[in-house]
Amino acid sequence: MAEPGATQTLGSLASDLASTSLAMARRFAAGATLWCWSPEHPEHAQHVAVEFVHPVIVGKRALPAVAIATPGDGGADQLRPLVASGDVVLVGGGGAAAAGVSDVLRRAPAWGATTVWMGAGGRPPAGAADHVLWLADETELAVHDGRLVLLYHLLWELTHVCFEHPGLLGADGACEEATTCITCSDEGRLAEVLAPASDGATVRTAAGIEDIDTTMVGDVHRGDLLLVHAGTAITLVEGGP
């Protein structure tokens, strides 16, 4: 999106918003809660949540959405006990500098959450979240001048349009788009270690909590991210905090 004041369009952001809205509507229809975290600009996470919880348009349904206010890098520790499988985690801001934001986005698949990353400036790498809604911004002012607010207003408006199409809300978007879905197939599901044990660990995956064998990857620690196949950890993706 170009600078305000000029003639412009959303460009590819329009279709990004459309697919994100449909995915969120499907998750809400299945009972999801939306968790919002924007550590550098907590007001945006709160604004997103209040849009969904208390719609400005009379007659639109109130949806469960919550902003968490944790500053700095503490998001994962606050979100982990709150986020349930099937929920949506929306994070705002960041880029390479925001270690806490990327940390949440890496872990959320192990919690079973769909992720949305919204912000402005340097665009995150492809695949950093399930859905990326990103504004080009040279000025660092897009977070203040209403362009970011416009994005999440549109996200709310389009999500509610989707609710008027109940026949399209049954399928889960997470499993539609790719021919191989690592969340649902058994080939390398992401797991977060809750508690190590001898030759094994209790881990959390999108499917729930399970005990796995860790012989192939050696010692693991609380918070480690592993790829699990058929009850066995096959790769250490990333060490814990």
């Binding site: 003639t7 329009a14 918003l17 007001e43 977070v143 209403g146 362009r147 607010v149 709310w156 026949g167």
Partner: protein, 217 residues
């Protein structure tokens, strides 16, 4: 808001691509409306905005502090305005804070004296002559904002407001020093334009403080 959509067949509907195309078109149209409202507001409210910039720059130059407030999404937008002044991407750091930021204060006042007074009471406690109060509203009719702006005016605190629709009671009130009206009946488009106007206000204050008359180092 959905009359642009194709007719659909309730629970039997299966045409996802058609819905996605409709959603994209809708997003484009709404973004276009938002940008048009910005441009129109910058024209219509330019005199009010310039006057507010001048008054606020003078106050900041003399050590005045900015208190921002609103309700709901406007409260978060007001917090964003305070953040822009106090930790700007460039330029001078200026004292500003949101009156909705402290849950203890907000719930204590709401519970004990009523929600209509949650902002006014904080101004009574914290503000002094030469400070500034900035209220954001879409309707222009929020009782707690109007009471706070009247209290500000009484105390020599500059009372600035922005409201949507026709400006509502804010525009009609004699208690505001400056009122910036965003003429729209869409709450979302109003808030987006208010944010843009607040950046204009901030930029104008920054430029005025760097100018020859107010220049402070």
């Amino acid at each position: 808001m959905t009359d642009f959509l194709y007719p659909f067949i309730e629970g039997d509907e299966r045409d996802g691509p058609s819905l996605l195309a409709d959603l994209s078109r809708s997003a484009e149209a709404k973004a276009g409306e938002s940008m048009q409202l910005r441009a129109a507001t910058r024209t219509d409210a330019s005199a009010d905005l310039a006057a507010a910039v001048e008054a606020m720059a003078e106050r900041f130059a003399r050590g005045g502090r900015l208190f921002t407030f609103g309700n709901g999404g406007s409260a978060t937008d007001a917090a964003g305005v305070a953040a822009l002044f106090v930790s700007p991407p460039t330029g001078r750091v200026l004292p500003a804070r949101s009156l909705a930021a402290d849950e203890a204060v907000l719930t204590a006042l709401g519970n004990d004296v009523g929600f209509d007074l949650v902002f006014a009471r904080q101004l009574i406690a914290a503000a002094r002559p030469g400070d500034m109060a900035l209220a954001l509203s879409t309707s222009g009719n929020s009782e707690n904002l109007l009471i706070a702006l009247a209290e500000a005016r009484r105390r020599g605190v500059l009372a600035v407001g922005s409201a949507g629709y026709d400006g509502g009671r804010m525009a009609a009130s004699g208690d505001l020093d400056h009122c910036i009206v965003v003429r729209s009946d869409s709450v979302h488009r109003i808030q987006e334009t208010q944010a843009a106007v607040m950046v204009d206000l901030w930029r104008g204050v920054q430029q005025a403080l760097d100018g020859p008359e107010l220049g402070v180092t």
